[in-house]
Amino acid sequence: MSDQHEVVDLPPTPGERLRNAMKARDVRITMIFGVVITAFFVFIGLWFYPKFMPEIMSESMKRGKDVIVYFTVISAPIAGLVIAIALYTLFDRHHGDTPPEEAASFRTHTPIVFVWTLVSAIFCIVAIVWGLTEMNVNSEDATANAKTALVVEVTGSQWVWTFNYPELGVQSEQLNLPVDRPVEFRVHSVDVNHSFWPVQLGVKVDANDRVTTLAHTTPNVLGTIDIKCAELCGLYHAYMETQGKVMKEADFNSWVTAQGGHVA
């Protein structure tokens, strides 16, 4: 390091090369585009997109929505970069029947490939870790609530959902749930595959013949739930839907009693 001053023409360091590159006009304009487009996608993700989601009536639904919102925000810079570069190149278009003049012979650029791969790997890891964590929270909740959960046996048949509350001795074609009480759906089918989808609760699980599948959630808002079938199950698949209610515990208990069940 001591004899460094003897060297007259140092090649530019990577830092200098980066700074020089950043001064180029096209790089600057592209970056401005990129920032604007990124902001646009962040706006879509944070503000516009959630408007299309139905009412959020459970933590699992909130987690699902959060994943979509934050993944949109995370991927906004990538979208911004891609679109900005594509847009910028369009500023200098060539028309006519003969090819344009040759561009710079730019065959590869190892640092760019390396950085691009590294950055996309980091984004990918963030997405994976995020998803695994949320998934883990969902399943931990399910385990923690296993003892206290209200058990609802859901039976799919062409083309009706029926709900059986084994602990309460109630059977119904309407799904009523007490608010803030964990619920365990035990789902099966008596014919073809269906998929049990209480939309506002943000869970979904297939109904298979002779197999019981589980879904866990805790409704935490009073209101109406749309229950649909999310797996094509034959002629009237589109009409295999019903409604449910999340109600106060007292209301739920009186409903159970009215149905001839016994409140635990």
Binding site: M53, P54, M61, G64, V67, I68, F71, A79, V82, I83, I85, A86, T89, L90, H94, P99, P100, E101, E102, A103, A104, S105, F106, R107, T108, H109, V113, W116, T117, S120, F123, C124, A127, I128, W130, G131, L132, E134, M135, N138, D191, V192, N193, S195, W197, G202, V203, K204, V205, D206, D209, V211, D226, A230, L232, G234, L235, Y236, H237, A238
Partner: protein, 620 residues
Amino acid sequence: MTTLDHAKVSESRPNPPKSLITKLNMGTGMIVGIVFAEVMYFWGKSMWDRQEAVMENRILTLSMFAWCIGFLIGIGAFIGPFRWLIGKDLTDEEQLFLAGKGQGVSRYFRYCTDHKVVGIQYLVGVMVMLGAGGTMAMMIRTNLITPGSKWVNAEIYNSLVGLHGITMIVALIIVSTGPFGNFILPIMIGARDMAFPRLNALSWWLLFTAIPVLCSAWFFGGIPTGWTAYAPLSVQAGGGMNAFIVTIIIFAISSAIAGANITTTVVTMRAKGMKWNRVPIFVIGATISVAMAIPAFPSFMASQMMAAFDRTIGTHFYDAEFGGSGWLYAHLFWIMGHPEVYVILIPGVAILMEIAPVFARSPLFSYTTAVVGLAGIVGLSFLVWAHHMYISGWLPSLNGPFMVTTEMISIPTGLLFLVLLGTIWRGRPWMKLPMLGVYALLWNFLIGGITGIYLSDVPADDYLHGSMFVTAHFHYTLMGAALTGAIAGLAYWFPKMTGRMLDERSGYISFWLVQIGFQVLFLGMFAAGSQGQPRRVADYEQAFATSDLISTIGAYLVGIGMIVLLYSVVHSWRKGKIAPMNPWGAKTLEWTVPYPIYLENFHEAPVVTSDPYGYGRSEK
């Protein structure tokens, strides 16, 4: 370097050999096929004349296979193998006849071994399939224009969904590797023909036999199961399901033959000097795509054979009551299904990577990265199938690992973006039709890719699975990326395949109608899915009315755009401007041969000394 007058083609017309081969064509194939099918049908009726679904299915399935075998016999597909059996082979004249030497248009209706003829056959076949599938898409969207429209009843609607799905999937699997992989690819690598010309013809005519079978589904009760044909729903379905099963089995054989053929051709028949790092990227993409299909499709075929056994002889592979399992079907299906979407996607992207350097006059950015990206997708795509089964309840503890592999695909996919962006960066894009496809792909594939990351994430998929969101997502990748690539490829290679330029004005109109309509259609569908509309529903609630209306309007724009494209293709093919030998100034080998292309492509075997991306001013 000149435009060739079409009339001055002087390929001498040889005396046709006096042999059975000269008498056979598509017509004789159809006659023998129908006779076989009828004989099988009535023989089956007399054998198993009972009013049982199993018997009916057995008779229908066997009749459909009989049609296929009869057709192939009738068109002369087995003459070569038969000669081998008796220790002979076709004579030289017969081989030349099979290659279509000096036969004019009639060779397109024969069992023709010339790869260029097979390419055109695939092109026309694909266009017919896309037209049929597109018409069904229009009918689906028309039915969904308002809630409770009941334009068609639920039974017909479900059939439309299933037939649209399988028609489009089959069409998209072959849309690039069929026409361009057969016509252009051998010339691109400097080969005289494919490695196995007779198998090449077989792969096309096998696929051809499957088309009437698939159409016949309409008359036997349709395919009311969606293209996934999940068991046990498929076991319950009517006679149309047999047509689905036979189609898939035939198609799997056809694609295996085509895959082996293209792979062997690229591995063994490249021009002198064309080392692996000098192979055009489309060739790499097409080869990777068909090579992926070779291990993937047998799984699909097996799943359909087991479905056929369940339906025709009463086995219980998928029937839980007797120890079978619907999950078995789902696994076999998706072990094919997830590599399959990349079988569709990769050639489309590769075509655009071939096009981008030509129209930006800039070398393909980082060839190695492109190959690594493609290869990475292939490797990972075999490890992700169960992300289609997150919510099936099959084994929730494996959702995590499948989520990891699925999200990792975003890394090699990102590399493909880098290659395209690096190629167009600091180039002046020449805004011809093929180049527009590059920009369309960047946008569409971006949306398709990002929404794919949501779906790969289990908590989000818990909500979105089975909704219209999924439908919109895969249309963005399959149609927005793969079909866009194929259409760009058609505009790019049209001069080489037909000798005429694709009409630009109608081409531009079509491009904008299709692309704008496509955004309206599927952004509307993303909204419907987010609101909670399940997919494959014949009817829906008032809450989704706006999103669905927007989607339908977009669909009509796409439909009009596609009709304009059809007009453009038909019109240009008949009366278009005569194309020069190399209208785009491209450097791949197919542009060094004049139209019409000689029977064996090159008079002198080409020698390759560099990769075909030597665009750009030399630096310093």
